[in-house]
């Protein structure tokens, strides 16, 4: 069967691979999303002292180390049975909000932005951040760079380093902040809120104001009706740092709502021999293969899912945007994959508002930023929302706190099945009998993938890592017809 391969390679540490099989007539028979990377953290972390985990697991990902750092830190609280003081919790959530805002900015402007700003048909040489800068102007570029710079600067100030912080401990954090630092955090937070609003306006102008893009967003090739997962607070509003994991169905109704410790009652992972990454699914529905719908255990954990799984946002401006989002797209749940980009901007606004809220909290400069554990460690679970999805860390240790077993369900991993499905359906939508397979078409397949902001196999990224994607097209004689390589960017 002819095969189109988007085969990447190369990048040095890992990549994603898409194989699209065509029928003799040139229609898409099936598509597979393969992850050819594995490091084995669940194995080699065993034998390490548990307190190393915020630093060890940060190296799972160079783009979202803060997510792992935070999930690990929370897992340590649970493991040692120590409740951090309010100041510590607030400091953690503050850092986390800054991180989220920065990360979402990077993704939107550097990854997704080029498709919308330059257009999916634009030549590859222009479809990148430099092309965006040329098109929208240096002023916008300046704002983006400032946002990223501020975020990294503040994270380094609070937690040691912008990439791979060294801060989280059971019972709190290694250091608090001074009033001077707090004031700076607040000032930049206000700028972040302005930037988030600006980004939403830009999105309105460039994307929503353009019927071609609107049509693209609503294109059934980019649509999947799956379950949605996200973390919510006590009032079912989106929260990145803590709360209950909530799953809603394709019909919008609540399927599950659980505390992180109970994750194994709800989620399990499936293995395929053609990918190193596993496929999580909802246990109570069951693994039915790469299909969507209420009878399939496949679920999404993305900014879009978080909005779908919640009842609203916890800050006023973001709440208004949340309402506008659903009004425009026809109510809950919203399924089109490309709407994720918009959802990401709504989250950006929430993250910035929350950043300011916490910076203004009277306890944020409190002197007690850590309590020492007193109990013997045994077992602990910690969950946070990574920008790319719900992240779970589960540790077991001996009485000295040396790890005996580790289980990790990582943000993007949640989405491996829906990513596969999105790619297949995008491919079916754009690759048709009688239509030559061109680079822009393959880019449109990749857009389905890119919406998930995947962070696969970031073995070593010291850069905001992106994965190159290769699409390999094979003809009926199994000979490779084409290789299109695309670096997520």
């Amino acid at each position: 069967m002819p095969k189109v391969s988007i085969d990447p390679i190369t990048r040095l540490e890992g990549h994603g691979k898409i194989e699209i099989f065509l029928t003799e007539e040139g229609e898409v028979e099936n598509a597979y999303f393969q992850v050819p990377e594995l490091r084995g953290f669940e194995r080699f972390c065993v034998g390490r002292p548990a307190e190393e985990m915020p630093n060890l697991t940060a190296r799972i990902c160079g783009v979202c180390p803060e997510a792992h750092h935070m999930a690990a830190t929370k897992s340590l609280d649970d493991l040692f049975g120590v409740e951090p003081p309010q100041t510590a919790k607030k400091l953690r959530e503050l850092l986390y909000s800054i991180f989220f805002a920065t990360d979402h900015t990077t993704h939107f402007y550097a990854l997704a932005g080029p498709d919308f700003v330059m257009g999916p048909d634009a030549p590859p040489a222009e479809r990148n951040i430099l092309g965006v800068v040329k098109k929208v102007g240096m002023e916008v570029a300046g704002k983006v760079l400032k946002m990223r710079w501020d975020g990294h600067y503040l994270i380094q100030m609070m937690a040691g380093r912008a990439v791979h912080p060294n801060w989280g401990l059971p019972g709190g954090v290694s250091r608090g902040i001074t009033e001077e630092q707090r004031a700076e955090i607040e000032a930049r937070g206000l700028e972040a809120v302005a930037f988030a609003r600006f980004s939403l306006e830009l999105f309105d102008k460039i994307v929503l104001g353009n019927p071609t893009y609107l049509e693209l967003i609503q294109n059934p090739a980019y649509l999947h009706r799956t379950y949605n997962m996200g973390t919510v607070d006590g009032r079912n509003r989106v929260n990145f740092y803590d709360g209950w994991v909530r799953v809603t169905g394709p019909d919008g109704k609540e399927h599950a709502r659980y505390v992180s410790r109970d994750y194994r009652d709800y989620v399990a992972e499936h293995v395929e021999p053609w990918s190193y990454l596993k496929f999580p699914f909802l246990k109570r529905v069951g693994w039915k293969g790469f299909v969507d719908g209420p009878d399939s255990g496949v679920y999404k954990a993305t900014p879009l899912s978080r909005l779908n799984a919640a009842d609203g946002m916890a800050t006023p401006l973001a709440q208004k945007e949340y309402e506008r989002f659903y009004e425009t797209l026809g109510g809950k749940p919203v399924d089109p994959t490309l709407a994720t980009h918009w959802a990401r901007l709504v989250e950006l606004l929430y993250a910035a508002e929350r950043w300011v809220e916490l910076a203004r909290d009277p306890e944020i400069t409190g002197e007690t930023f850590r309590l020492l554990p007193e109990k013997t460690p045994t077992e602990g679970v910690g969950c946070v929302e990574a920008p790319r999805g719900t992240l779970t860390h589960h540790y077991w240790t001996d009485e000295r706190g040396i790890l005996t077993r580790v289980n990790l369900i990582v943000g993007t991993t949640n989405n491996t099945a829906p990513i596969s499905m999105s790619i297949a359906s995008a491919a079916r939508g754009v690759i048709r009998k009688g239509r030559a397979v061109t680079e822009p078409l393959l880019n449109m397949v990749e857009m389905a993938f890119r919406a998930y902001d995947p962070c696969l196999a970031c073995a070593t990224h010291s850069l905001p890592g992106r994965m190159p994607l290769e699409v390999v097209l094979r003809g009926p004689d199994r000979k490779v017809l084409a290789v299109h390589r695309r670096n997520l960017e």
Binding site: D7, G47, E439, V480, L481, A482
Partner: protein, 165 residues
């Protein structure tokens, strides 16, 4: 035909003032002892950097013996304590990496203790012999499957053609 017994190759770091002289003494006294130790003279066991030990194992040694002056008798006052403090974390690390305890030994022998040193050497050789060769570099030897896999990556790329722009 009987397989020849494995003869461990042991690298020895002997200090100039005590253990090296003891080895000399054993020699001149015609005390027979196992010839398996390749003797390296250092001025003091305090000179023995863990790097020497690691390098010895990496390059094929089956065992490493460090022999110095008795505590309190170091020619340079306290440097044999340094050796002791270094060998402890080193030994623990080696064990975690799968190198058996018997393969690294730190002993004390004064210049007059020729027979004692000879006996210690014999004991170490007999402790290492049943463990077999360490052959450490075998651990990272390349598999033929790897060569084939790298070559096939190149082939898969070469087979591909370009998509029209």
């Amino acid at each position: 035909m009987e397989r020849p017994a494995f003869e461990p190759r042991i690298i020895g770091f002997f200090c100039n003032w005590c253990s090296y002289r003891a080895a000399d003494l054993a020699g001149t006294s015609r005390i027979k002892y196992a010839p398996n130790v390749h003797n390296i003279r250092v001025m003091c066991t305090g000179r023995v950097d863990p790097t020497f030990v690691l390098e010895a194992f990496a390059r094929g040694a089956d065992g490493v013996l460090i022999a110095g002056c008795h505590p309190g008798e170091c020619h340079y006052m306290e440097q044999n304590y340094k050796a002791l403090r270094r060998v402890t974390p080193l030994g623990r690390t080696l064990r975690r990496l799968g190198i058996e305890e018997e393969r690294l030994r730190l002993i004390w022998a004064s210049a007059a203790e020729g027979p004692q040193l000879a006996a210690a050497i014999d004991a170490m050789v007999e402790a290492v012999r049943p463990l077999g060769p360490l052959a450490w570099s075998e651990n990272w030897k390349r598999s033929p499957a790897a060569e084939e896999a790298v070559a096939s990556a190149a082939r898969e790329h070469a087979e591909a053609m370009e998509v029209s722009p």
